[in-house]
Symmetry: C2
Amino acid sequence: MSHMTLPQTDLDDAILDLIVTYHDLNPLGVDELTEEPSPLDFMRYVARNRPFVVRGAANEWKARRRWNAEYLTGVMRSQPVNVAITPHGNADSVVEDSQRSLHFVKPYDTTEPFDSVLRDIQAQEADTLPSGPIKYAQTQNDNLRNEYSPLFADVPASIPFARIALQHAPEAINFWLGNSHSVTALHKDNYENIYVQVLGRKHFVLLPPVEAACVNERMLPSATYAHVRRREQGEGRGDGGDAGDGEVVIPKGDGEEEEQLEMRPDDPAQEVPFATWDPDEPEKRPTQFSRLSRPARVTLEEGDMLYLPALW
Amino acid sequence: MSHMTLPQTDLDDAILDLIVTYHDLNPLGVDELTEEPSPLDFMRYVARNRPFVVRGAANEWKARRRWNAEYLTGVMRSQPVNVAITPHGNADSVVEDSQRSLHFVKPYDTTEPFDSVLRDIQAQEADTLPSGPIKYAQTQNDNLRNEYSPLFADVPASIPFARIALQHAPEAINFWLGNSHSVTALHKDNYENIYVQVLGRKHFVLLPPVEAACVNERMLPSATYAHVRRREQGEGRGDGGDAGDGEVVIPKGDGEEEEQLEMRPDDPAQEVPFATWDPDEPEKRPTQFSRLSRPARVTLEEGDMLYLPALW
């Protein structure tokens, strides 16, 4: 480590050594498989806590053949579904206010008829710079066996290699519907996750848990976007103040009333630990270890399956 | 953690939390199985880095039926074998000298005819307080496929569940021969290990890797026992000085010459990291975390098999 000048302490040295050694001993990318692993093969990935992608694993699923906007609308119709609404598509994200303070901001969560959510998501997809807030149906409450249960028959009830290896049926099966404006902030989950791309495409940027020291986790005051209406001149606003980046004004046709998403501190106030470094903007808020990060990037195409290990 | 007074820093708090949480989430002892696990079952233990014992797993091995002192002597005869010799049976141990300095001391390693090694080990077993140094055949250089190769046919060439799960034949297969005076100091290995008790009995005291902060690892000057002969009056001694606990005088019949094991610093001097806390003497050299240690104790009887995960 004699070439390193930044580490100041034994602990820093140890962290540096851990990250560098991890990358010396592990491949940099995500393993690419052409067929589903056996339960034993899968368990080897779980043991090493390493992700893999299976190209085309879901090609034979009914969902792959059936799902499109028309089919989904025909099945779900105007059933109410949860939808997360954010100014720019960033759900659960770190937002810097005009005083340059950081906040952890959750979407405005509401319930809308499925057909109108799908229509909005499609319409916004066409806009390069959408004028209104971004909608993303992304609850993680086992929604495919609940509010989207009419669609559940189109997917397998479990992923056999994972169920057998982990000796557990899936705790939650979630259906997500978004568009290319939806971005999920860098985060980690305590679950083993199998993600399947049925339609469209998703870009993942994955960091191994050993890079925890790279992501500059901080305690941030939590806030939630609130949906407020106001007159042009700003009458009737909520708690006031300049919401900075957290404010979006939505012209409603040519009427004088507007819809607006406003960032509001949670009440009672609370702080949550959250990563403030983003590998896609590495110069912002780095730690001394961020430059050691080796993000694994993988794009899922239709039919692809990703094993996302716990804590990645 | 408000009941804790010892932790001084965030790091101490985090270490304490890690150890306590680990024990909250894991059983305290070693899982007991009655038959060998499948490769998939085994991989689940590897993934969780948890030990298990399979009672009687080796009962059908030829070694279990054949091996005894007479058979081993008949096969191995006077073939030269490596033997580790220490004053009290502690191989690779931490020794406090008369100035209360700690040393990491390696055995005197030599080569002797197998039949005489076995005879000495048996004879010392009969003594409650053996007068001479303790012998232990315990090399880890794949000796069962080398110096003890005549015995290799009596054991399986590999443990199938482990070979299949890990996709690797054993890197080393070792035969150890000792008696009840042999004690191995607390240490860890970077290998997945399957230990089988063919004859006799062995007591294991196992700590999970998360308890690293409990064992008070320090850099210790390394030394090796050297075998010297001297006259009664101490003429012809090596580097002199009081070797304290590291010196044992062996009366050789009623002759005037004696054999002696003397602790000698390695040349060139070097330091090695080694645990200085012993869960069997918990009041000696503890860290603030040692009291959180929950050693798993397991005794292997003849025919039992232990999976000793890497770093335990």
